[in-house]
């Protein structure tokens, strides 16, 4: 067998080190093989460059698409338990219709093992659930999802009003209701929660106390009080009697009282006292004060934040709204690098690449090394692929490589930087980057590409 018969294996990169060296020595003595190798390697390099350039847009992946993917999978998985509980609901609804025809009985469902289940009350009347000793009353046409059930129970109110009678819990356990971006945490009480609009809820407490937490602040609402508001304007008022009565109605304690009381009763404005919110930048405990009564507040953020709401908007297609909200937020909070990062993603999704790159650069200048590195990489890809500003792309990739975060993008960033340098005619610097790529990422596809590019640049 002659060495010429190893040509195909050599081009397939199937030879071991010794065989490779032997074949390369053969090339020096065989013009035919040498010509074939040179022809193919030139064609292969051109093929690689052409395909990489054409496929580059396909390789761009953003976090929003990734988040949408995760949400799709979550929805698919959540659909299964709902289908199982659908039979329960069908039976229960039938029972309710019969009851409301004349018996005046409330529908009462023992919802054991219902994590991941969505409960919907019929339009004809409320639904009462029992969850391990806690009682939940859901107003007609209301919708509540049981996220977690156990010593810690977590619900999400999607629509309507719920009233809760919550048994006392051990230290460390909690009963939490999420609604409209807020989290209501209780350890043993009777209260109601109503979402009255985006980022706005109303919480009325009949017995015990609850803590309502949002971004950067929380407040305690006690028996006989109602907390209501949105955004920056919150009030704690004496709970109007209809709201307190409505809690009993929803829980089935006083079926003669319509559950609609909670839905329709507005919070009383007479005597309303605004809650003084502590500034978001304060690191120590601060108080929201009601005259004559100190309401302790803590600056932990156990519940949802506006960032989660905005991401949710983006995934559900409201990118422009999320963008507008982020614009306002970053205007008021210019040092919130997480918000700038999300704004950059938003702007990119809306194809406003210049604004997107500007947002990312904010993070580069003010973020943690990891966040700054990620932002620098994203800004670099936009500058290179969309804005064709190769000098700025080089600067961003350099910044990313200095940060060292995240490490998984190092090979790609080095390759991109080399390509950008070549576009600028800085071939010597490009070669340095390519050699660095070969040295640091030996064995990867990127290193093989770099090696071929170096051959081409000789």
């Amino acid at each position: 067998m002659t060495m010429c018969s190893s040509l195909a294996s050599y081009l397939n990169r199937e030879l071991n080190e010794a065989q490779d060296a032997a074949f390369m020595a053969h090339l020096a003595d065989c013009p035919g093989c040498a010509r074939e190798v040179a022809r193919w390697q030139a064609l292969e390099a051109g093929l690689k460059e052409a395909v990489d350039r054409v496929e580059a847009p396909l390789r761009n992946v953003d976090e929003l698409a990734a988040a949408r993917m995760a949400a799709l999978w979550r929805q698919e998985r959540n659909a299964e338990p709902r289908r199982r509980s659908g039979r329960w609901r069908a039976v229960a609804v039938a029972a309710v219709l019969l009851a409301l025809l004349g018996l005046g009985l409330w529908r009462f469902v023992v919802a054991g093992g219902s994590s991941g289940t969505l409960w919907q009350a019929p339009s004809t009347g409320p639904l009462t659930l029992a969850l391990r000793g806690d009682r939940i009353g859901l107003s007609s046409s209301g919708e509540v999802e049981v996220l977690e059930e156990g010593p810690t129970t977590r619900l999400r109110l999607h629509r309507g009003t719920i009233a809760c009678a919550v048994q006392k819990r051990q230290r460390g356990d909690a009963f939490v209701v999420e609604a409209a971006g807020w989290a209501v945490t209780v350890v043993g009480t009777r209260f109601s929660v109503r979402a009255v609009g985006p980022l706005s809820i109303e919480v009325t407490v009949a017995q015990g106390a609850v803590r309502v937490a949002g971004e950067g602040w929380s407040a305690v609402v006690r028996a006989g009080q109602t907390l209501r508001g949105k955004g920056e304007g919150w009030h704690i008022v004496a709970a109007p009697p209809p709201l307190v009565e409505g809690i009993a109605a929803l829980l089935g304690d006083r079926p003669s009282v319509s559950d609609r009381r909670l839905e329709s009763a507005p919070a009383a404005s007479v005597g309303a006292v605004p809650v003084d919110l502590p500034s978001a930048s304060a690191e120590t405990g601060a108080s929201a004060s009601v005259p004559g009564r100190k309401v302790p507040a803590v600056l932990t953020v156990p519940g949802l934040r506006d960032m989660d709401i905005w991401r949710d908007w983006i995934v559900s297609g409201k990118t422009a709204e999320a963008c507008a909200a982020l614009d306002r937020h970053t205007g008021a909070h210019p040092m919130d690098v997480d918000a700038w990062m999300l704004l950059g993603d938003c702007r990119r999704k809306l194809r406003d690449f210049t604004a997107s790159a500007d947002a990312y650069r904010r993070v580069v200048s003010a973020g943690t090394p990891e966040l700054a590195g990620r932002a620098a990489y994203r800004a670099g890809t936009i500058e290179q692929d969309q804005l064709k500003n190769h000098a700025e792309a080089v600067r961003m990739f350099e910044r990313y490589l200095q940060s060292g975060h995240p490490a998984s993008l190092a090979a790609e960033a080095t390759m991109r930087m080399a390509i950008a340098l070549m576009e600028l005619g800085r071939t010597d610097e490009a070669k340095v980057r390519l050699m660095e790529l070969v040295r640091r990422h030996e064995g990867t596809g990127s290193a093989a590409r770099a090696r071929r590019m170096l051959e081409e640049l000789k």
Partner: protein, 204 residues
């Protein structure tokens, strides 16, 4: 399902976790792990689909990419650690694209034009002859003339840097079949290059 919030959690950057950890988390029910997997490999899967089904529009590619990752999530418990995740996902993508082509061949034949803009190499070679200038476009034309099975193997080897054994595993064929297709693809490309291209082809 415990403690899972329905609000969107943007996945932590994929660089922070290994493939094994991501797949283990996905098999254990962590939805965010699918986001991490997507961030890491959606580009690869998009290219796989666009190469195997160049007639697809960008919207159709994205739909099929979603389907690939949902399939990966459904089968996450069957994933064996020794499998190379990239190869596994690429294989799912390629099969998804071929299945799409089989299922839509009649529709595509009946339609006079494309339903959407082509992507990837299909876009690059669909420009008019007057616009096809330059070495890059010439090479893409050569590539487009290859039989699909040869083109697929050539791209995996020459562009992506996969070995013959890896390609055989991804496509579910023998190593010998990979060698044969590579050989024929190279021969065809070089013959076409010699036959139809100007003297500048293949040289700086």
């Amino acid at each position: 399902m415990n403690g899972q919030q329905d609000t969107v959690e943007v996945a932590g950057h994929p660089g922070e976790r290994s493939d094994r950890d991501i797949m283990a988390a996905l098999a254990a029910g962590d939805s965010a792990a699918l986001g991490a997997l997507y961030l890491r490999y959606a580009g690869l899967v998009r290219c796989a689909i666009a190469r195997c089904a160049p007639e697809m529009s960008i919207g159709e590619v994205d739909e099929q990419v979603q389907e690939v990752f949902l399939t990966a999530a459904r089968r996450s418990r069957d994933y064996v650690e020794s499998d190379r995740l990239r190869a596994w996902l690429y294989g799912i993508g390629a099969r998804t694209a071929r299945s799409w082509r089989r299922n839509t061949w009649l529709r595509r034949r009946l339609l006079k034009g494309r339903e959407g803009e082509p992507v990837g190499m299909a876009a690059a070679v669909s420009s008019s002859p007057e616009q096809q200038v330059g070495r890059r476009e010439e090479i893409l034309q050569l590539l487009a003339r290859l039989p699909a099975v040869q083109r697929e193997v050539l791209l995996l080897h020459a562009v992506d840097g996969w070995s013959g054994e890896e390609i055989a595993q991804m496509l579910g064929i023998t190593h010998e079949a990979v060698r044969t297709r590579l050989f024929r693809a190279r021969q065809a490309m070089m013959a076409a290059a010699d036959a139809g291209l100007p003297a500048s082809f293949g040289r700086e």
